[in-house]
């Protein structure tokens, strides 16, 4: 039998765990956090102003045009939605598979999911020509006939898929937070704190009944979330796959998108957690190198799946014998946007191969750099799919280029401002590691204090 490695280092007691995890919530932020937060907040304000100007002036500020009707906004939307996949995967699917190592990273991964979906959710709303009429995409009884939405449109499926996913992952995350909120409430030294966290903990008493209900709800929500992990990006991929456009119209898109989403999601988790480890050194005992290594393995595996999808697309395009399909893929790799394609391949397929080496998987600087490349690569994957397919389609007379403008850059980078602002706030007001879930795995892989093996 293979010896289990400890999931939590440093020979902690339960009290120490609680103290360690609650520390960021209960202490004043350091200079580093403040600097980061203000930078992120400035970027967020810049983002909001940019959105305001675009909404009041018109979509024409962005690079979208004829023939490229979708651009940065949709690319970045899919990018953030993809990122939002790792969290639920970690917390739901790995939970169902009883993967105990997930406990220390689940909370932040889920938080990232929620924030990424929130960030993503802005884009479909503001990318329409008349955002103030976006509510027409929701089927509600109305006095226009009633006039319903078009249930055949993948964009509508998108509305349902993304809103369902956002709701369920938020509830799932929140339910997991309840016992920890109660812990903070109980430790609170001021009345205000006690009241706020008291309200957030929904009257948690820590009774047996509480725990029993909690565990059942958590299990059910995990079961409910699991198909959503697969369905959201499947449906997002339908936006493309259901169309007639060569380069979009492919059946491989659902699994390819899901694999890509998990890939990018883990990329972002690694990026964030390496930073969290630096910012909160005590968390190193909970988010260990072993955790990071496990995620790096997933990055490598999903990276290769994505690479397989890239190759298979080319094969199918050639095998189909369809002129337009063949051209679309040749154009991706060798057309005017060849650089985007090769950035994508390099970042997503080639660079993660370094994780074949154990030292690379366990090196914080290397995994940080790789995860950044993965993020860049996955943004470009969506750019390649969206823009290079549109810019040259059936009739050569239509062909054109995306008219990238500074507003595209503002929207893309501004969205990071939104995400980071929320994430930094989260690190300070919510327990970033699940206290309740970590404690049961304290003795995993450790010699018990009582001398025997403890099966948590």
């Amino acid at each position: 039998m293979i010896e289990r490695k400890p999931l939590i280092l440093g020979d902690k007691t339960y009290k120490e765990i609680t103290d360690d995890i609650c520390e960021p919530v209960e202490t004043k932020p350091g200079a580093g956090w403040i600097a980061l937060f203000f930078s992120a907040k400035m970027l967020l304000l810049f983002y909001l102003v940019s959105i305001g100007i675009i909404v009041t002036t018109g979509m024409g500020l962005l690079g979208v045009n004829h023939p490229v009707g979708w651009g940065t906004m949709i690319v970045t939307f899919v990018f953030w939605i993809g990122i939002g996949h790792a969290g639920t995967l970690i917390s739901a699917i790995l939970f169902l598979f009883r993967q105990k190592w997930r406990t220390s990273v689940a909370r932040s991964a889920e938080a990232m999911t929620v924030f990424a979906v929130m960030t993503a959710g802005i884009f479909p709303l503001i990318h329409t020509g008349r955002p103030w009429l976006d509510f027409w995409l929701i089927p509600y009884p109305n006095q226009r006939g009633p006039l319903w939405v078009n249930f055949r449109s993948p964009l509508l499926w998108d509305v349902f898929a993304v809103s369902t996913y956002a709701t369920v992952s938020m509830v799932f995350w929140y339910v997991g937070l309840v016992p920890d909120f109660a812990t903070i409430r109980d430790r609170a030294k001021t009345k205000l704190r006690r009241n706020i966290y008291g309200a957030l903990s929904l009257g948690w008493r820590g009774t047996g009944r509480n725990w029993s209900h909690y565990e059942m709800v958590y299990l059910l929500l995990a079961g409910l979330s699991t198909p959503l992990v697969l369905s959201v990006h499947t449906i997002v991929s339908f936006d493309f796959a259901v169309s007639t456009l060569p380069g979009w119209h492919t059946t491989i898109f659902p699994p390819y998108f899901v694999a890509g989403a998990i890939f990018s999601g883990f990329g972002m988790v690694v990026t964030l957690l390496t930073l969290v480890r630096i910012g909160f050194p005590k968390f190193k005992d909970y988010i260990t190198i072993d955790h990071m290594e496990a995620m790096n393995k997933i990055i490598m595996a999903t990276g290769m799946m994505v690479g397989y999808a890239y190759a298979s697309e080319f094969f199918i395009a050639w095998y189909s014998g369809v002129t337009y399909e063949k051209f679309a893929f040749v154009n991706r790799a060798f057309g005017p946007y060849w650089w985007a394609y090769w950035i994508m391949v390099t970042c997503n397929v080639l660079i993660p191969q370094i994780f074949w080496f154990k030292w690379a998987r366990r090196s914080i600087p290397i995994m940080f750099v790789v995860s950044i490349f993965v993020n860049i690569g996955m943004w470009f994957e969506r750019f390649v799919i969206t823009v290079t397919s549109l810019h040259r389609d059936y009739l050569p007379s239509n062909w054109g280029m995306y008219a990238w403008s500074r507003w595209d850059a503002a929207i893309l980078f501004g969205s990071f401002g939104m995400f980071l602002t929320i994430f930094l706030l989260y690190l300070r007001v919510f327990p970033a590691i699940s206290i309740a879930e970590v404690k049961p795995v304290l003795y995993v892989g450790k010699k018990s204090k009582h001398g025997g093996k403890h099966h948590g």
């Binding site: 002036t57 018109g58 979509m59 024409g60 690079g63 979208v64 045009n65 004829h66 023939p67 490229v68 009707g69 979708w70 990318h127 329409t128 020509g129 008349r130 955002p131 009429l133 976006d134 027409w136 995409l137 006039l147 319903w148 939405v149 078009n150 055949r152 449109s153 993948p154 964009l155 509508l156 509305v159 936006d239 259901v242 169309s243 007639t244 456009l245 014998g321 369809v322 002129t323 337009y324 063949k326 051209f327 040749v330 549109l390 040259r392 389609d393 059936y394 009739l395 050569p396 007379s397 239509n398 062909w399 054109g400 280029m401 008219a403």
Partner: protein
């Protein structure tokens, strides 16, 4: 007689008013103030309740961050004019003269304002067809930059360039001019103008003041007239009959685009090109700079402008040899061989043979600015000789029905300059020409003007010439004035005004009449020019009743083309004196373009944004190079170049034009305006500054030019960046020979669907577009723009791919880039049966109608643009910004068609098959209690197409034209394999050539069997 000033009587309403008491003045101040704050109860400060109400409301409004919709009152007719029913259009037969070509028009008006122009179907010249300019000229009526009053310029004695502009009244202007006229020495510089009445008024006016008329056109036909005089005795512009020509050889004669009467020629040309018949006419083009004619040629050969005469002589030599004659040794020397012309050996002999085979039904044509070289006259003489030798004279070229009034002559300009120098001219009236813009600075026209005591311009714009004039007396838009034209002998056409002058303008003729009257020497007993027109026309048609009938019909008489051939003067041979062209590395050819021609409509935004049919460039003219020359010189699209022609230098952007002759650069006329409108200012460069002066002639073609590259780059706004079909079946094409053997060049797909089809009980609309007859003239684009309120976005946004045209003309090249074949394809919403746009719209804003149309519901559209992405034809256009009229300048909103929704920001739009016209025709049929007939509905594009390439109709009516075309042999569906099942179908192009199409190139092989034919290439 005294001229009566306008209303001088002062009426008063009360004694108070009469005496202007303070009380009265105070009530006057308050009388029309509707603000509650100023009402009675607010006298002692603010009315409290009103204040509270207003404050409450404004706080609420400002909190809601919105602005109350302004109160817009609509007022019904107090007394409705008999002919106007609000909401229903009135149509007036009228006409328009555009430099050399005349149109019979049918102008649609609504509530007294002209909205749309269509051709007068019965008019023999253009028929229903229009040019792009004829459709677009309606916008110049509403041009906000048009002068609204006469202008008096205080001319700085140091020079005319520093004039101070001040609006004036007609009374002031007339009283200024009259004493000046009495001094005598009056001259009128005008363009060709084929109106007998205008000419009469002008000559009697000039008679009174011992004046003289000078005529000059930027697009001159002087060498044609001169050569006709030498060859046949009379200086005229003969009528060309392309419908009777089986083989047309064009030597830089752009008869389909800009030469003499293109719309009429296009109609005739395509009549003879029906591939269903036993014979199909053929067009061979020799050209220095590709034109619309070039791109429609079955066989095209690039030949430098300096070689035109040598080529024509070589053809003549071979034709004469076939007839047993020959050329003098001197001319033989000037004739060029195949090799010298860069042609395949035997090409000329073959063409000469074909010409001889088609004796009496062929046509050799040369002309236009590209032939206005030192040898222009010689070339025309050789062409006349060729046509006479081939027996075409009297058959395809006739003196009968010659084009009248086209008498512009550069010699007149030189004479005018000399007369100014001699002090003969005290007053110069310039009408309908813009010599300061159109003449090269080297002539010194501007400096000479200082010697003229008074310069009067009748321009409607404060343009280059008008800004130097002492007085600008705007003559008004043709749609505001009466006239009658005789474009070809025997055919009279009326120009009816369709709106009262929008500004305080007065027609040129009325101005002359008034000025003569004010100066005390009346030239007519009639009150106005209209009375002259009416009196003379009534006399011609017989009665007042017939006059009204004439107005309704729009034209009278017909042009008679019968007559015996003229015999060629024996002196022609001796009159041809070839001028050896100067040896040069690079020669300049200045050409007019289809949309801009002489630049007179440069301020019409529609035309500026109409892609040049050849280059597909908008908002710019470029120096065009052949691919080979461009490569040798390192020129790419957008390279900024410095050119030097005889010391005149300017900066111009380079463009690589496939099919252009090597060592030739082309530059389009009509751009680079410096005054006369905000839009046209500094768009492109003024090519006329590079025109050369040689003796008494202006030379447009063949001048040596040196070109230097700069490091600058100017991004061109090109609406179609990719010019090849990538081996896809987009325009199906076959040769006439192959077609007669049953090869239609179409690869048909086996299509099956698991879905059922829509059912149509009533109508089922469909459209057929014949790619064989489409010449790419782009008239449809302008008609669509006018009909459907399509906005213009400007150069910057065209570069970003935001142009809004609902119909566009795709132009593809195939074959060798030095000598490519070109095809045109009008592309608009295909109204698919399985419309990909409909399924993906999340809010059902684009839906299938029960008559098969893809209806676009603007109100419902939220603007996801998914429909555009999913459209295989990419014909949908998105409103990226507010194009809807919030920011339209004054008057321009009046050009909007009230029957078509003006789209707001953020919604998608596209071709609707002119659904408003469908509705309109249905209503008319219902009113008349009859079923709809085929042809009742004409879409805007169909209506103006000179060749009837576009046919719209009901597919459920088995007898309709479109139903028959849908089962025609050449019919095919674009992107059939996508199975969007479009209800617009195309008819394959048939090229009358002996070559095999696309051999060695990436064109779609007619058989389409082998996969190897899909060779991907990039340009």
């Amino acid at each position: 007689m005294e001229n009566k000033p306008e209303t001088q009587n002062q009426y008063w309403r009360s004694l108070d008013e009469k005496y202007q008491t303070p009380e009265f003045l105070k009530t006057l101040e308050n009388e029309f103030q509707s603000s509650p704050l100023k009402s009675e109860e607010g006298k002692d400060g603010l009315a409290r309740r009103q204040f509270m109400k207003l404050m409450g409301a404004s706080v609420a409004l400002s909190a809601a961050a919105c602005v109350r919709r302004p109160v817009e009152k609509i007022i019904p007719y107090n007394k409705r004019p008999a002919e106007i029913i609000p909401g229903l259009p009135n149509y007036y037969a009228s006409s328009w003269f555009d430099g050399s070509q005349g149109f019979g028009l049918l102008i649609k008006t609504r509530e007294g304002r002209p909205l749309h122009v269509a051709g007068n179907t019965e008019f023999p010249l253009n028929g229903k067809g229009l040019s792009a300019r004829a459709s677009a000229h309606i916008l110049s009526l509403y041009d906000p930059d048009r002068l609204k009053t006469p202008v008096y310029n205080s001319i700085n004695p140091k020079g005319r360039n520093n004039a101070l502009k001040a609006d004036a009244s007609w009374l002031q202007v007339d009283q200024k001019i009259a004493p000046q006229l009495k001094k005598g020495g009056v001259a009128i510089l005008t363009s060709s103008y084929p109106s007998e009445h205008t000419q009469d008024v002008m000559s009697s006016f000039l008679g009174k003041f011992s004046g003289k008329k000078y005529v000059w056109d930027p697009l001159t036909l002087e060498s044609v007239r001169e050569a006709q005089k030498i060859s046949y005795g009379a200086a005229l512009v003969p009528h060309y009959h392309f419908d009777k020509s089986q083989l047309t050889v064009s030597l830089d004669g752009d008869f389909l685009g800009t030469y003499i009467s293109p719309v009429e020629f296009t109609r005739g040309f395509q009549q003879a090109r029906n591939p269903e018949g036993a014979q199909m006419a053929k067009l061979i083009s020799f050209h220095s700079v590709p034109s619309l004619t070039t791109l429609n040629a079955d066989d095209g050969y690039p030949v430098a402008a300096s070689q035109q005469l040598g080529l024509a002589l070589a053809l003549l030599q071979r034709v004469l040899a076939g007839k047993g004659g020959g050329l003098t040794s001197e001319l033989k020397k000037a004739a060029l061989s195949d090799e010298q012309l860069g042609l395949e050996n035997g090409t000329l002999t073959k063409i000469a043979k074909e010409l001889l085979e088609n004796s009496g039904r062929s046509l050799v044509i040369a002309g236009g600015l590209a032939t206005e070289s030192e040898n222009a006259l010689n070339l025309q003489l050789v062409v006349n000789w060729l046509n006479s030798a081939l027996g075409n004279e009297g058959k395809t070229v006739t003196a009968q029905g010659s084009y009248l009034g086209l008498e512009g002559n550069s010699a007149d300009i030189f004479e005018l300059l000399k007369d100014i120098d001699d002090g003969k001219i005290k007053t110069l009236i310039i009408h309908n020409v813009n010599p300061v813009y159109g003449l090269p600075a080297a002539l010194g026209f501007v400096e000479k003007l200082n010697k003229v005591e008074m310069l009067i311009s009748t321009s409607n714009w404060f343009d280059e010439t008008a800004s130097l004039a002492n007085v600008v007396a705007p003559c008004g838009h043709p749609m505001e004035n009466w006239n009658e034209f005789e474009f070809v002998s025997g055919l009279h056409v009326i120009q009816q005004p369709t709106v009262r002058p929008l500004g305080d303008t007065r027609s040129f003729e009325d101005s002359l009449i008034t000025w003569a009257h004010t100066a005390g020497s009346d030239i007519t007993s009639e009150k106005s020019f209209f009375d002259i027109v009416k009196k003379k026309a009534t006399a011609a048609v017989g009665s007042e009743e017939a006059w009204y009938e004439y107005l309704q019909k729009g034209f009278r008489g017909n042009s008679d083309h019968s007559g015996s051939p003229r015999s060629l003067s024996s002196s022609v041979a001796s009159q041809i004196r070839p001028v050896a062209s100067k040896a040069t590395d690079l020669e300049l050819v200045i050409v007019p373009t289809v949309h801009m021609t002489d630049g007179s409509l440069a301020n019409v935004s529609w035309l500026q944004e109409l892609p040049d049919p050849v280059t597909k460039i908008v908002w710019e003219n470029t120096l065009t190079f052949s691919p080979k020359t461009a490569k040798a010189m390192g020129v790419e699209n957008g390279t900024v170049l410095t050119v030097d022609v005889n010391g005149v230098t300017m900066k111009v952007t380079g463009y690589v034009q496939p099919g252009q002759a090597d060592k030739v650069v082309g530059l389009a006329l009509g751009y680079g305006r410096t005054a006369g409108g905000e839009l046209s200012k500094n768009v492109g460069v003024n090519a006329s500054q590079l025109v050369q002066v040689s003796g008494n002639k202006l030379i447009y073609s063949g001048a040596p030019i040196t070109v230097k590259k700069t490091s600058e780059f100017n991004e061109l706004a090109i609406t179609q960046g990719h010019n090849t079909m990538e081996g896809r079946q987009i325009v199906a094409e076959t040769t006439f020979k192959a077609y007669k053997q049953g090869q239609n060049g179409i690869h048909r797909h086996k299509i099956f669907s698991i879905w059922g089809q829509h059912k149509y009980d009533g109508h089922k609309w469909g459209m057929s577009i014949d790619l064989n007859t489409c010449t790419g003239c782009s008239a449809c684009m302008m008609a669509c723009q006018s009909e459907n309120n399509i906005p213009v976005v400007g150069k910057k946004y065209v570069i970003q791919g935001r142009e809004m045209h609902w119909i566009r003309i795709d132009r593809y090249y195939s074959g060798d880039e030095a000598r490519p074949d070109a095809v045109f394809q009008p592309m608009m919403c295909q109204q698919c049966e399985n419309a990909p746009c409909e399924t993906v719209c999340p809010v059902v804003a684009t839906v299938h109608s029960d008559e098969g149309l893809n209806d676009m519901v603007y109100n419902r559209c939220v603007g996801t643009r998914y429909c555009s992405n999913n459209c295989p034809y990419k014909v949908r256009r998105f409103n990226w910004f507010y194009y809807d009229g919030h920011h339209r300048k004054e008057n321009l909103h009046m050009a909007l068609n009230p029957e078509v929704t003006v789209r707001t920001r953020g919604v998608m739009e596209k071709c609707t098959y002119c659904v408003q016209r469908i509705k309109d025709a249905k209503n008319t049929a219902k009113d008349e209690n009859r079923p709809l007939k085929d042809g009742d509905i004409k879409t805007a594009c169909e209506e103006v197409c000179p060749t009837s390439a576009i046919v719209f109709g009901d597919l459920n009516d088995k007898e309709s034209r479109v139903s028959k075309l849908f089962v025609a042999e050449r019919q095919y569906t674009l992107l059939e394999e996508v199975n969007a099942a479009p209800r617009t179908r195309y008819l394959a192009k048939v090229r009358n050539t002996d070559r095999t199409l696309g051999s060695g190139h990436d064109t779609h092989a007619p058989s389409h069997d082998s996969k190897d034919s899909h060779k991907e290439t990039h340009t």
